[in-house]
């Protein structure tokens, strides 16, 4: 993939309504997203010869329900890294001659109770347990990310106001983006500081909320995409990292997720540096996440993320507009697909009021996957380019 014309691209995007309590079953969300993506690309169901499910369900019932006839169908599970991983996996399947058109499919409804479900509130994604620490009352993804945030505050003097700057900046983007949970509702730093403490240092407005929705991304070759309807988005580079190596060295809580090897691989494939990135779309379940990722990718120095964001550098006029659709914090939580979708929209010039003018390179990240005692094992980086 390095040097020369990009070999793979994203040729279709389907995004359903994204929001709380939609009342639509997950499979129906996936079906609707698939139909939107096929229409976007100008493809039919019979053109889809590879299916990758990224939701918690195995996905085999999906393939029948969706009316697909692929050569393969499998499901992946790497938490918030699954979306970016699924695209890398689709590229691999195409490269290996197993398919030409792969549908990476997501649909979940964590805020809609399945018919026939009984009992009390599920707690949603926020109440995930992490193995034995749950016996002590360590519950939920917020606490797992808080462990990284506390280290960052200890090492660099990052403050709650810095975290609040992330929330305010991303809400400013969502306020301009119809269909997001923050649309038309900007927030102030004072409102962030007044929101209740959940798990230190995270206040309520440092946390994203579960939403329902479906997304399908269609991956194919650049050659195949040239004959399709939609404006293709080039895949310039991809990379992966795994935080376990940082667990062994004891650095895991200082690093958030394992970006270094992923960035090295992805930027190397693309022949680009971080200075070439026009817009960042970073996995952001909590405010600390974009802050630490901006440092890890090198948009600012170690420990500088808080002041960098507080100075407005992640806004539309800043050095690196970040999570221009509001991200997960203020947009919607389609697990890792929130970031993927925004990267695609920006490269197609479809970002609306928060489109970054003349953006040609988008950086997309995903992380996640539980392993009992730590929550961010898997990481994937994706570099997207506007097709020329």
């Amino acid at each position: 993939m390095s040097s020369g014309a990009p070999e793979f691209c994203i040729a279709g995007l389907g995004v359903t309504a994204q929001g709380r309590h939609l009342g639509i079953p997950p499979r129906a969300l996936r079906r609707e997203a698939l139909e939107l993506a096929l229409a976007d690309a100008g493809l039919t169901r019979r053109d889809v010869d590879g299916y990758i499910g990224t939701s918690s369900e195995p996905g085999f019932e999906d393939v029948r329900h969706l009316g697909l006839s692929p050569a393969f169908a499998w499901a992946m599970s790497a938490g918030g890294a699954t979306a970016t991983w699924s695209i890398i996996n689709a590229m691999g399947a195409i490269r290996a001659g197993q398919a030409q058109v792969v549908a990476c499919t997501y649909g979940a409804a964590p805020t809609t109770r399945p018919r026939g479900a009984s009992g009390g509130r599920s707690g949603g994604y926020g109440a995930y347990g992490y193995g034995y620490p749950m016996m002590y009352g360590m519950v939920g993804a917020a606490s797992a990310h808080a462990l990284h945030a506390q280290r960052h505050m200890y090492r660099y003097g990052t403050t709650s106001a810095h975290l609040g700057a992330v929330a305010v900046a991303q809400r400013a983007h969502a306020a301009l983006r119809p269909g997001t949970i923050g649309y038309g509702q900007p927030i102030t730093l004072e409102e962030h500081q007044a929101s209740p403490m959940i798990v230190e240092p995270f206040r309520l407005l440092d946390c994203c909320r579960d939403t329902d929705g479906g997304v399908v991304v269609i991956v194919t070759t650049t050659a195949r995409a040239s004959a399709l309807r939609s404006k293709a988005v080039d895949i310039l580079g991809v990379g992966t990292g795994q935080n376990l190596r940082n667990w062994w060295t004891g650095d895991v809580y200082d690093l958030h997720d394992d970006i270094a090897p992923a960035a090295h691989t992805a930027f190397g494939q693309a022949g680009l540096t971080v200075g070439d990135v026009d817009v960042a779309s970073l996995y952001d379940p909590f405010t600390i996440s974009p802050l630490m990722q901006l440092e890890a990718y090198g948009f600012c120095g170690p420990g500088e993320g808080g002041p960098f964001i507080a100075a407005g550098e992640t806004g539309l006029g800043g050095k690196i507009p970040t999570n221009t659709g509001g991200g997960q914090l203020s947009g919607y939580y389609a697990t890792g697909f929130t970031a993927v979708v925004e990267g695609i929209l920006q490269m197609r010039g479809e970002g609306g009021a928060t489109q970054v003018a003349d953006a040609e390179v988008a950086l997309v990240s995903g992380h996640g996957g539980n392993a009992g005692v730590q929550n961010t094992w898997s990481h994937a980086t994706l570099l997207l380019g506007a097709h020329r």
Binding site: G129, Y132, M135
Partner: protein, 149 residues
């Protein structure tokens, strides 16, 4: 009655020797007899695999590497505990151990706080290790607490 193990979590059976050790008030770690690296939870040594791994008593001491304080009760059985501190303890032998911090107010917990294990009956035959602040002169077993030098 607080359930020891909520429905969606269970102690890993490969860690049973650790929990048995807690019943004897011994804080065990999974140690490689080849290179002396210590692990928790049960693991294969990254250099020597599974064969040399052995559960061995440890100091039960360490320091708070990072922590958080819960102000929100995610589950009903935690409602009467908030606010409470959960820490990742960097044990003197190297591994991380997640625990609550007892014997002090949550506001006292800080990164670098020296802590030591204390065992407590938890019902249904379980004994849970907890960590509490130690006197400032508690010795550190080694200066380099990285598992991999």
């Amino acid at each position: 009655m607080t359930p020891l193990l909520p429905p969606n979590v269970g102690a890993d059976e490969l860690d049973d020797p650790f929990w048995d050790g807690c019943r004897r008030h011994e804080f065990l770690l999974h140690v490689c007899r080849e290179c002396r690296r210590a692990y928790w939870p049960a693991a294969s040594c990254i250099d020597h695999g599974w064969a040399p791994m052995q559960w061995q008593p440890s100091s039960g001491r360490g320091e708070v590497h990072t922590y958080t304080v819960f102000h929100h009760a995610y589950m009903p059985w935690l409602a009467d505990r908030v606010p409470y501190a959960i820490a990742v303890v960097r044990l003197d032998e190297g591994p991380f151990f997640h625990s609550d911090i007892v014997g002090c107010a949550p506001s006292v917990v800080a990164i670098g706080l020296r802590v030591e294990v204390v065992f407590e009956e938890a019902g249904e035959g379980w004994v849970l290790p907890h960590f509490r602040p130690t006197p400032a002169d508690a010795p550190c077993a080694t200066d380099d607490r990285r598992i991999v030098p």
